[in-house]
């Protein structure tokens, strides 16, 4: 596990019961990273990271009080996020809310970009309203991973025996 973490670049830690902190270095100047993270035409190119999934909506109204909405569609349905920008300091800082539809409770994301020697140090602090919500966010990431495995299982099962497809429903892996 530690070897894997060393070669992977994204660090995820839990600084408190209600927070998730993500840090990573990008080998590009800050203004390019900021652009790639805030222009819809660019976000469309990296947001959707799972095979068999496509991004159907990518709306960004980058101003304080402006809204964004990202929707991806995969084999098990639609996944949608939206939020409102609360603070924008290009190219170094964005604070926004984030709602995982259709859940009514949102989180607050504080993203900062720092540039040193042509590299950009990304830091994203996610604040949840309570521990349950924080843990739910991480669990949702797991479900995404499980989806991938299940898609594969489903294909394999189907190729062996079409009747077994029902066994590989996503609910089966979430218990």
């Amino acid at each position: 596990m530690s070897e894997k973490r060393g070669s992977g670049k994204l660090e995820v830690t839990l600084p408190s019961d209600t927070e998730i902190l993500m840090t990573r270095v990008f080998d590009a100047p800050r203004r390019l990273v900021f652009e790639a993270m805030t222009k819809a035409e660019y976000v469309r190119r990296w947001w959707c990271c799972m095979e068999g999934h496509t991004m159907t909506v990518c709306e960004i109204d980058l101003r304080v009080g402006g809204r964004y909405r990202y929707v991806t569609v995969g084999p098990h349905g639609e996944v949608a996020f939206n939020g409102v920008y609360q603070e924008i300091v290009p190219p170094e800082r964005i604070v926004h809310s984030e709602f995982f539809e259709p859940h009514p409770d949102g989180i607050i994301v504080t993203m900062t970009l720092e540039e040193r020697d042509g590299k950009t140090y990304y830091r994203s602090l996610i604040r949840a309203i309570n521990k349950e919500q924080r843990d739910g966010i991480i669990a949702s990431g797991m479900e995404g991973g499980a989806d991938l495995a299940l898609d594969y299982l489903e294909r394999v099962a189907h190729s062996i025996d079409p009747a077994r497809r029902a066994d590989a429903s996503p609910a089966a892996a979430r218990g």
């Binding site: 995820v12 590009a28 991480i138 990431g141 991973g145």
Partner: protein
């Protein structure tokens, strides 16, 4: 995935003394006395921490011997790190695509700089 067990694991590891105990036990089993040694704490205080870790299923104690050494139970720890690791992998997959895009944007900019010179 058992969320209650995860909660218990993270709650047990939320204390620096208990994390130090877990780190010590990762090197091999130890008695309560041995575990108490590096800490400026009474044996009952250490015993209390050990009970929390035991209840969370992170350590086990053998019954027979007089000194009842503690040892680490690895499975819940692995479950907890896997849980976070899966979340991390999702984010990393996304950011690797962003890396590719950034390379492209950098190249585009370099071409533009060369042209305008």
């Amino acid at each position: 995935m058992n969320m209650e067990r995860l909660d218990a694991t993270f709650a047990a590891l939320a204390d620096p003394t208990r994390r130090a105990i877990v780190a010590r036990l990762a090197k091999g089993e130890a008695s309560v006395l041995e575990l108490a040694e590096p800490f400026d704490m009474s044996q009952p205080a250490i015993s209390k921490h050990i009970k929390v870790l035991e209840r969370a299923g992170l350590i086990a104690r053998s019954r027979d011997a007089q000194r009842r050494p503690c040892r680490l139970v690895v499975a819940p720890l692995r479950e907890a790190t896997d849980w976070l690791e899966r979340y991390r992998e999702m984010g990393e997959a996304r950011f690797q695509k962003l890396d590719n895009l950034l390379e492209e944007l950098k190249e585009k900019e370099n071409r533009h700089v060369r042209k305008t010179r």
